[in-house]
């Protein structure tokens, strides 16, 4: 199996008769990969499978060539920030990170240094010596993240890592993920916050009912479904009527709707590439186009089309 990818090969997991995930086949490259799906879609199960916290009922998993059933190797490569909001009793933030780091066998002095660095990265220096039990939700989220990144892993698995974070910390955390991805590491995130997923992900994995519904770059996924769900473009121009009639001349355009005064034309097409070429042609032939905005070329729209709107949260 590949040494630079997280690979799930036909993986299924059942909890008795309840389906966790079913026949999941994925190959996750370095970069930021977001798992998106409604509650119960199998995102956490998938993360737990990748990190060996649960075992697959069927199929094989490899994380950079390591089987998750070998924690002694896996967790030298992987850091996992779970969604479980519980901690061992009586430990301060720094003691918590330090104590579990010691399990890796590093010397105490090195663990202290690494702990301090991780705590600094998540901005918890002032609260480091306070008991975790006294932390706010956002601080608990950050200390979990600190534990996941403390040993400088090549793979970071993060279950809803942005939950409970204030906007400033949220943007710093996202910057950290981007930095990790830029360094060629794997960052796998599950999130409900679709606009953030859209903003930071190199690829998305859409899940529903334990199945992978779609995966890949968001634009690639969007174009794959344009036959059933024509892509929408908002075109701002000075001659909206002419623009609408010219658009209708294209056989792949299924709808061209004039919006209110000065708001432009909304065009739905089954072939975005050909439509964009046609727009270039129209612009060259004298139609003054001020702007072209893809309206549903994002995770939120893809999510709604593939999974259903009622579960999309933000």
């Amino acid at each position: 199996m590949s040494d630079d990818r997280i690979i799930l090969d036909n993986v299924s997991r059942f909890y008795g008769e309840v389906l966790g995930v079913n026949r999941v086949t994925l190959s996750i490259p370095p970069g930021i990969t977001s798992l998106v799906g409604p509650n119960g879609s199998g995102k956490t199960t998938l993360m737990n499978l990748i990190t060996g916290l649960v075992r697959p009922s069927r199929g094989r998993i490899s994380v950079l060539g390591v089987d998750p059933s070998q924690p002694q190797k896996l967790f030298r490569l992987v850091g996992y920030s779970t969604q479980f909001d519980t901690f061992p009793k009586g430990l301060s933030g720094s003691k918590f990170i330090f104590s579990y780091l010691r399990l890796s066998g590093r010397p105490a002095a090195e663990c202290r240094e690494v702990t301090a660095r991780a705590i600094e990265q998540v901005g918890l220096v002032e609260a480091a010596d306070r008991k975790v039990a006294a932390y706010s939700k956002g601080m608990r989220q950050r200390i979990r993240l600190a534990q996941a990144i403390a040993h400088d892993p090549r793979v970071l698995i993060l279950d809803e890592p942005l939950n409970g974070l204030d906007p400033l910390v949220r943007s710093k955390t996202i910057a950290l993920f981007k930095q990790y991805a830029a360094e060629g590491r794997h960052v796998v995130i599950s999130s409900h916050v679709l606009h953030e997923v859209d903003m930071i992900s190199d690829q998305v994995v859409l899940m529903s009912g334990g199945y992978i519904v779609a995966e890949g770059g968001i634009r690639g996924v969007r174009s794959e479904i344009q036959e059933e769900r024509p892509m929408q473009f908002l075109i701002r121009c000075r001659q909206p009527n002419l623009m609408a009639s010219k658009a209708f001349e294209q056989d792949h355009v299924v709808e061209a709707r004039l919006l209110g005064e000065g708001e432009g034309v909304l065009v739905k097409t089954r072939d975005a590439d050909r439509f964009c070429r046609a727009l270039n042609h129209l612009a060259l032939n004298g139609i003054d186009i001020e702007g072209v905005i893809p309206v549903d070329d994002n995770v939120h729209s893809v999510y709604e089309y593939l999974i259903g709107g009622e579960e999309a949260t933000q």
Binding site: L53, V54, R55, Q72, F87
Partner: protein, 354 residues
């Protein structure tokens, strides 16, 4: 590799120490462990007080020990009075057609209780207050019937089952499983932490019980006892206590790892250990209590009025030899730990079903 495992085991022990020693959930274990210390202390104080009282009575009504020891049932009341004088306590009454009387004499160390029916001596009960070997028999009885069977057993239940179950319930076990530690090493670390805690708690209780028992005697009596059989008995009790923690610990760490509800397996094990004396010889050997009792330095001698089955509970009929008992406990422990270690590889985190 072994060095790394040792470092990891030590790190796990450090993490577990506070939980095993100072957990609020485990305070009852201290009560269980140290209850016999209170018992022996109370008994010691009461005995010392009683001995002082008897010595005072003996100085007021001097009686020779020889005269007391020559009393035989069947002699009449007047003969007793002639020999020993007036008792320091007496009571007379009728029960149906018979006339009954009780009286007490003492030489300062033995309290002799005489029971007369129709003027004849019908029963003699001697209570010795200066007989250390006799008290060590009492200690043996308490140690084998209560301390091993209940205190250490349930103490190990409380500490070892919580090593995994407690963390499952607290939803914090996953932090261990997210570290580069083999599951087998995790099991070994947790077992070692539990062992350290139970051995410290229960052997210190054994030592304190012993101290409380000896406290009532004068230095010369204690020194004489220790130099003859005392030290050997004392060290044996410490070893038996530690081995009980080793054996029961392995069983209950496995129970905590494998069973979502440990009450049923614990009850089954308690029952199995309880009925051990009544089992055929081959089955007897598949238990911890059989080997532990075989290692005890004294066969507890319960009072004559104690039912036969209690005799069986306190002392094995055919004890194993000491080396065989130690080897068997260690082997049973290793087998249980190896099985638990293999099963620990399949351990999963699924808090939602807890």
């Amino acid at each position: 590799m072994i060095r790394l495992w040792c470092i990891q085991v030590l790190a796990i022990i450090r993490l577990e120490m506070k939980k095993t020693f100072l957990s609020r959930r485990g305070l009852w274990i201290y009560l269980l462990a140290f209850a016999p210390v209170l018992l022996f202390m109370g008994q010691s104080i009461s005995t010392a007080h009683r001995r002082d009282e008897l010595q005072r009575i003996a100085s007021e009504h001097p009686i020779s020990s020889e005269d007391l020891s020559t009393l035989r049932t069947g002699i009449n009341r007047d003969e007793v009075t002639q020999k020993l004088g007036e008792p320091y306590y007496q009571w007379r009454g009728r029960h149906g057609q018979s006339e009954q009387a009780h009286c007490k004499y003492t030489d300062g160390t033995v309290d002799v209780y005489l029971f007369f029916r129709d003027g004849k001596l019908a029963g003699i009960d001697r209570r010795e207050f200066d007989n250390l070997p006799l008290f060590s028999q009492i200690f043996a009885g308490v140690f084998q019937s209560y301390y091993l069977r209940l205190a250490v057993f349930f103490g190990c239940v409380g500490i070892f089952i919580n090593l995994f179950r407690g963390e499952m319930l607290d939803k914090s076990l996953h932090f261990y499983l997210l570290t580069p530690v083999r599951r087998e090493v995790l099991l070994a670390g947790k077992y070692a932490a539990g062992l350290l805690a139970t051995i410290v708690i229960f052997t210190s209780s054994t030592a304190l019980q012993w101290l409380a028992l000896l406290w009532q005697f004068d230095d010369a009596t204690v020194a004489a006892f220790l130099t003859t059989t005392g030290w050997s008995q004392f060290s044996s009790y410490l070893v038996v206590t530690a081995l009980a923690c080793v054996g029961y610990g392995s069983v209950f760490v496995a129970v905590g790892l494998l069973f979502r509800n440990p009450v049923v397996p614990t009850a089954v094990i308690l029952l199995w250990e309880g009925v051990n004396p009544f089992l055929p010889a081959a089955l007897k050997k598949v238990s911890m209590i059989y080997y532990l009792q075989s290692l005890c330095p004294l066969t507890a001698a319960p009072a004559n009025d104690v039912p036969g089955f209690v005799h069986l509970l306190i002392a094995p009929v055919q004890p194993a030899t000491r080396p065989m008992a130690v080897i068997s406990i260690v082997l049973l422990t290793l087998v249980v730990l190896v099985v638990a270690a293999r099963l620990s590889r399949r351990m999963e985190i699924n808090y939602s079903t807890e």
